[in-house]
Amino acid sequence: MSKKIISYSEMIGQAITSNMKKNNKIFISGLEIDYSSKVFGSLNKPFEEFPSRFVQTPAMENGLCTILAGSAINGMRPIFVNNRCDFLLLAFDPIVNIIDKWNYMFDGNAGNCPIVITAVIGRGWGQGATHSQSFHNFFSRLSGINVFLPTFPSDVSRVYNYALKTKKASIILHHRGLFKIKEKQNFSKKFCLSNIIKKGKDLAIITFSYGSIQSLQVSNKIEKKFGRKITILNLVSLNPLDKTKILRVAKNHKNILLLDIDHDEGGINDQIFNIIKTNFVNKIIKKIGYKKIPAPAAESLEKLYYPSNQVIYDIACKLLQINHKKNKIKTDYNFVGPY
């Protein structure tokens, strides 16, 4: 059993289902959740097992998020599912003014608000500017909400098990490029804010979500080609941020690469830069993020907008003082649309 291979998408379904079995306060709500694709298949299993614990709704992100917050305050554990992170903009008021602050504003006397909000980060295949955003950099600045971006099925499992039990609210963002990622199901169950997914002494990459996948591809190539080894720190949680682990990794590496899956100025990259530089003045740090523009729809522009493996490869090689010039590396992002 424990050696079964499971996909990211299946793991979401399994983690939710097993928690639903144990806790009858958990239910799932959102619009389009009984859409046949069931958020890239991730809700198939819970829907099969607990169809009556699905609350399918009209289009009403603000109202729904407020309502689900109210249900959480009254003892339930809603999972608010969104097909795109962008739609959450309509629910920023309940997220910021209710969920984030409920506990604090009443000094704990009005109960908790343990909602779990999940959303898909669209990328590629012409999603365009309003179906591809991620607001992790904003959400991470809130004090009352955990922000998780699991990369692997193992992260998914641990994050859901944690989020569906903790008293705090959580936002879980799933990059669309991850749903087919597979892993052997014999991973540790212990929740952790971050994990090292590759070890090496020559360079450290600190990243998360789809950034970790790209970093792995790039690192493997560099290792194969040049024998240089790279550490990758996969930040499963951006809020709280695993400062201890970041500093431990930073301590052991002279060269550090930070990779965000949003544009980089004023975001988590700068925050990590600050944490490292405040403690280790002499580290060489490079940052990678998107261009500071909305996402274009045309494929030819998408390729230039999202940092390709080549871009990461080139910068990593530069940090490693490898002169590769002619080496090419493909970006292995083959999502097929339309949605």
Partner: protein
């Protein structure tokens, strides 16, 4: 000038079968609400309560009448004008005063202020400062009751502007669709801040048609008549429980004081409504009119005794609150 669609003190006769004790209990609640608000009104200018405060004087019958029909395990949410529903659900007055004074013993440890009250053990789940939220939150609490198969209901207290927010529309549609046991208490006091709704923002807005257009039962009630409020909300709550369907009640009422703060608008030379209009509405005072009814019944003495007792008690509590401790550094970062 905005006039009431109802006649003054229309009718308390439906309360005639009630025992003296019951009737005095109702008056107790009305007078208590009024007096607590008056203490705040009088003390507010001393700059010790440093939090924006929206007083409910003139609107007491609604929360008293509705809450008389609720159970301790029902769930109440309120908009910014929060004191009356809090008081009517038996929230501690000491904690209320402390909250307004920014004290550690406040209902929210001083962290919330006037707009963020709560008294969970009394079913007052919380009030918030953002328009419309109380509506959505109450619906959510109702959804939770339904999913937990509890027989309780949830209640939202809110005003004109909350109803305008898209949130209310989305929520009402949801509650209708999902059979949510929620009572929507719409306190129509004809104004939002300094805008007369019926000339301004709500000129073409027909709550009855809209609410019915969403498939929800709608009632319109004289919100200054405690008898009407009591029986109509009783009817509504029975209906909700029996049918597991939401009900929406529009209560007609009037706010006497300025939107935020302790003064009469005319005293501050604000001209969005006239002194004459306020005086007209004072004749619909929900406390005085019910008192008249009781006096006619010969409860004169009981009433003045009761009033004195309340006055004394509330004043003492306020003094105690004044002396209580402020939150300090170690409190700042708790319950984040």
């Amino acid at each position: 000038m905005i006039k009431s669609p109802y006649k003054i003190n229309k009718n308390f006769s439906k309360l005639n079968p009630f025992s003296k004790k019951n009737l005095l209990n109702i008056y107790h609640k009305l007078y208590f609400s009024r007096f607590v608000e008056e203490v705040i009104q009088n003390e507010y200018p001393n700059q010790q309560m440093k939090t924006p405060t929206h007083l409910g004087i003139g609107q007491e019958a609604i929360s008293v009448g509705v809450c008389l029909n609720l159970k301790k395990k029902d769930a109440i949410f309120s908009h910014h004008r929060s004191h009356l529903p809090y008081i009517s659900s038996d929230g501690s007055i000491y904690k209320l005063f402390c909250e307004l004074l920014g004290k550690k013993n406040g209902s929210s440890g001083g962290k919330g202020g006037s707009v963020h009250l709560c008294s969970r053990s009394n079913g007052f789940y919380g009030s918030t400062a953002i328009l419309g939220q109380a509506i959505g939150l109450a619906a959510g609490a109702g959804l939770a009751f339904k999913l937990k198969k509890k027989k309780n209901i949830s209640v939202a207290f809110f005003g004109n502007s909350s109803l305008e927010e898209g949130l209310s529309f989305e929520t009402l549609n949801f509650c209708s669709l999902k059979n949510i046991p929620t009572l929507f208490v719409y306190e129509n006091n004809f104004y939002s801040t300094e805008m007369p709704n019926y000339k301004g923002d709500m000129k073409n807005f027909n709550p009855q048609k809209i609410v019915k257009g969403l498939g929800i039962k709608y009632l319109k009630v004289d919100g200054n008549n405690i008898s009407d409020v009591f029986f109509k909300s009783k009817y509504a709550i029975d209906y909700i429980k029996k049918n597991s369907r939401p009900v929406f009640i529009e209560f007609i009422t009037y706010r006497w004081l300025e939107h935020c703060g302790p003064y009469y608008d005319y005293a501050l030379k604000r001209y969005y409504r006239t002194k004459k209009e306020v005086m007209y509405w004072k004749k619909f005072c929900p406390v005085a009119s019910f008192k008249k009814f009781l006096i006619k019944k010969g409860f004169n003495k009981d009433i003045s005794l009761l009033e004195k007792k309340i006055n004394k008690k509330v004043n003492l509590i306020y003094k105690k609150a004044l002396k209580s401790k402020k939150p300090i550094l170690k409190d700042l970062q708790t319950n984040v």
